[in-house]
């Protein structure tokens, strides 16, 4: 844990441990992180929730090593470099991160003039907050589901996109599909307890850690598991009980693999997720916001960054930074309704510099 930054990793909490706060930020990508800074200057502390196990959103997940050229003041910066700098910049404000969690429910419990919300994550963390800033980018990162006909019927019993409890797979005939770290890691972890594990990938090159690939190949060589080249095209079974996967090899020949469990690991994709159920107006999976304070149709809930829409919206990181600054001004009015807000510059304000720990 870095100094000034607290983290919880999907820790379950009971309702006796409700976290009372002024703002919950949904999403720890660049816009969510910079919102911490703008709120911090106004004496508002933030809790951030993110479904990923690390901060940085798309920048850290999708393009950590890619150069970004349009961040003011950085002629070039990588996705991860930008995230690292933002984390450093917000340290003085001591945000609390709740990672590996997705907000499942948001219930208004206040009024339009004095909004208040009860926010619950899928890990059982409960917040009571005056405001919510949605900075969820393209939505929540969730596992990609392959468009195999009829796959839905098997989900939850025979088809899983993540492994929650390894013990649930003891004695099973498992087909794992994919060539990345998730596929290889679960192949190696489940092989000792499964009846049989087969790993299928479309080519004989793997992008997982070389050590994992070596271990997998050694298990195949000693006959303790199978590795097949090909792709799954269909499923056979009864009800939700899978019996076999229909596959196609690279020459176009069809074959079957008997299995009662399929674990497809095709990476992550972004989905709006439970945000769609929060009662906000939506426009094609985007949240309309006004351009004065970036508030949504629900007073007290704000939307900044790629998740929002308004006339002239540009999906740029710098747009999200601007939106964070304006949203923070209105959040201040909800959090400190009796306090006058005087705009100050960090270059000249001793008060702001004290908050930043530089005066």
């Amino acid at each position: 844990m870095t100094q000034g930054v607290a983290m919880t990793q999907g820790m379950a909490m009971t309702n006796d441990n409700i976290i009372t706060t002024d703002v919950v930020i949904v999403g720890a990508g660049p816009c969510g992180l910079f919102a911490v800074f703008e709120l911090g200057l106004l004496d508002i502390k933030a809790h951030l929730v993110d479904i990923l196990p690390k901060v940085g959103g798309q920048c850290a997940e999708l393009y950590p090593e890619k150069p970004i050229y349009d961040i003011p003041g950085f002629p070039i910066v990588t996705g991860q470099g930008l995230v690292d700098n933002l984390v450093e910049q917000i340290k003085p404000f001591g945000p609390t991160f709740h990672l590996n969690q997705m907000i499942e429910a948001l219930e208004p419990i206040g009024t339009a003039d004095a909004p208040r919300f009860r926010v619950t994550t899928d890990a059982g963390t409960v917040f009571e907050t005056k405001t919510v800033i949605v900075a969820a980018g393209g939505g929540s990162f969730q596992p990609k589901k392959p468009p195999i006909p009829g796959i839905d019927a098997y989900e939850g019993n025979s088809v899983f996109y993540a492994v929650r409890k390894m013990e649930a797979f003891r004695g099973r005939d498992i087909l794992i599909v994919g060539g990345g770290d998730s596929a290889l890691d679960w192949t190696l972890n489940l092989q000792p307890i499964a009846r049989r594990v087969t790993l299928m990938h479309r080519r004989d090159d793997f992008r997982a850690a070389p050590h994992s690939v070596e271990q997998m190949r050694a298990l195949v060589a000693s006959g303790q598991m199978d590795m097949k080249l090909g792709q799954v095209t269909g499923l056979k079974g009864e009800g939700s009980a899978l019996q076999a996967a229909i596959c196609r090899d690279n020459a176009g020949e069809t074959f079957e693999i008997a299995c009662d469990t399929l674990l497809p690991f095709f990476g992550l994709t972004m989905k709006l997720g439970p945000i769609a159920d929060w009662g906000l107006n939506l426009n094609e999976n985007l949240i309309p916001a006004d351009t004065e304070k970036f508030e949504t149709s629900t007073p007290g809930i704000f939307a900044i960054g790629d998740i929002n829409t308004y006339p002239g919206k540009l999906k740029l990181i710098l747009s999200g930074f601007h939106e964070a600054a304006l949203a923070a001004q209105k959040v201040h009015r909800y959090v400190y309704p009796d306090k006058r807000l005087t705009f100050q510059y960090t270059t000249s304000s001793t008060s702001l510099q004290k908050k930043l720990g530089v005066a």
Binding site: Q58, Y63, K66, K144, P146, G180, R202, R203, F266, M270
Partner: protein, 104 residues
């Protein structure tokens, strides 16, 4: 310059193409359903297309990075490409592709 794109319903559209644009950007800007969620960083495989047989050899071969990303696509075939890795040039006038199925 034009590119011919068949969507997932089988309808073919002829789209005006601009030199220097990525095929993904052309398809997306004409409003066809291509997710392209990483915006062209070759990081998500959500701009997967099948290139018509007579065009496959006219494109530069995929780099390792593109092949790795294709591992995250579904129903990958020998003519599979990521549209974000095809930079449009006059030599590609008439390029014909089909949108691949999208992972849910």
């Amino acid at each position: 310059m034009h590119v011919r794109v068949t969507d997932r319903e089988g309808e073919q559209r002829e789209l005006e193409a601009l030199e220097g644009w990525r095929l993904m950007e052309i398809i997306r800007d004409w409003g066809l359903p291509i997710k392209a969620e990483c915006g062209g960083a070759c990081a998500c495989a959500t701009c997967h297309v099948y290139v018509a047989a007579d065009w496959v050899d006219k494109l530069h071969p995929p780099r390792e990075e593109e092949l790795e990303r294709l591992d995250e696509a579904f129903d990958v075939r020998p003519n599979s490409r990521l549209a974000c890795q095809i930079l449009f040039s006059p030599e590609l006038d008439g390029l014909t592709v089909v949108l691949a199925p999208e992972l849910d």
